[in-house]
């Protein structure tokens, strides 16, 4: 009887741990989503001389 009870307890413990591993291994991971609006002004041609405005250099 004791052997049977021991086998039952061990079996239940193994079953619970295994089920926990299985659930963790199969649970879908929810992705993060980020949505950023992009306006036409952000998709303009870069100005060729914009970085030269106000430039002063010493030679």
């Amino acid at each position: 009887m004791n052997r049977r009870k021991l086998r039952l307890v061990i079996g239940i413990v193994i079953l619970f741990i295994s089920l926990a591993l299985l659930v963790w291994g199969l649970w879908p991971m929810a992705p993060e989503v980020r949505i950023v609006p992009v306006s036409p002004t952000e998709m303009q041609l870069p100005l060729p001389g914009s970085f030269l405005l106000g430039w002063s250099g010493v030679i």
């Binding site: 079996g11 619970f16 591993l21 963790w24 992705p31 993060e32 992009v38 036409p40 870069p46 010493v58």
Partner: protein, 240 residues
């Protein structure tokens, strides 16, 4: 001896900077400060005409897994879609009333340029593919999507950047330009359970479930069977 000394003295004097300055007197004194607006030249000013632009409202959508099981592969997705609800006409809300601004005629960039969207994922310590830049043509009204597959081999937090550039290639063959449209920071955490990664946890979980069922359910099933069998004779006795 005296002649040699005099010769050496003359050579030393001729090589000195003082002598050089004297030879070119116009370079004496401090050098002038040069500015972009030289004397007499017209100052630079921004062009009043609107810059050519892509006449579309778009949405940049970035999807990435915040947590990944160690050893599992996941997908990072970046897309530049058309915003159906976006308004190209600039609007403003003032005191609850919508104010419509007169639309400005902006030259259409699609008519003068070929536009290529280029994206790159930079994240240290994580295996991902494809590496380097991915290019896709940006067409009017069409979305572009970039996908990366990642697989963390170790537990930890990984931080990276998803870059999106636009390359404007003029149709007339002149020099192309490139600009950064977006740089999105992401953070991914690789996790494990009881020291096991995704594959190991699933394998061990499956095997352990079968083994645990065989060890425990055997006793549980026989107990249930006895319970059912024990009730049936009692029920028969009760009917008599």
């Amino acid at each position: 001896m005296a002649v040699a000394a005099l010769f050496l003295l003359l050579v030393g004097v001729s090589c000195s900077p003082q002598a050089t300055l004297e030879a070119t007197p116009q370079q004496a004194g401090p050098l002038p400060l040069l500015t972009a607006t030289a004397q007499g030249a017209a100052p630079l000013k921004a062009t009043p005409e609107p810059q050519p632009a892509i006449p579309e409202q778009r949405l940049l959508t970035l999807e990435w897994p915040a947590r990944v099981r160690k050893g599992d592969a996941e997908i990072i997705r970046l897309s530049l879609e058309i915003d159906e609800s976006g308004q190209l006409t600039p609007t403003a809300w003032v005191d609850g009333n919508q104010v419509l601004v007169e639309p400005v005629q902006i030259p259409n960039l699609y008519e003068t340029h070929r536009i290529v969207a280029e994206s790159r994922l930079d994240i240290a310590g994580l295996d991902y593919t494809p590496m380097g830049e991915i290019s896709e043509a940006l067409l009017p009204g069409k979305p572009v999507t970039f996908l990366w597959s990642i697989r963390p081999e170790a537990v930890g937090k990984y931080r990276g950047t998803v870059w999106l550039h636009l390359r404007f290639i003029p149709l007339d063959g002149s020099a192309e330009t490139r600009s950064v449209l977006s740089a999105q920071l992401i953070e991914i955490e690789a996790v494990n359970f009881l020291g096991l990664g995704g594959n190991a946890a699933r394998l061990l979980g499956g095997v352990g479930t079968v083994l645990g069922s065989m060890l425990s359910l055997d006793s549980v099933l026989s107990w249930l069977w006895k319970l059912v069998r024990g009730r049936k004779p009692r029920a028969r006795q009760g009917k008599r």
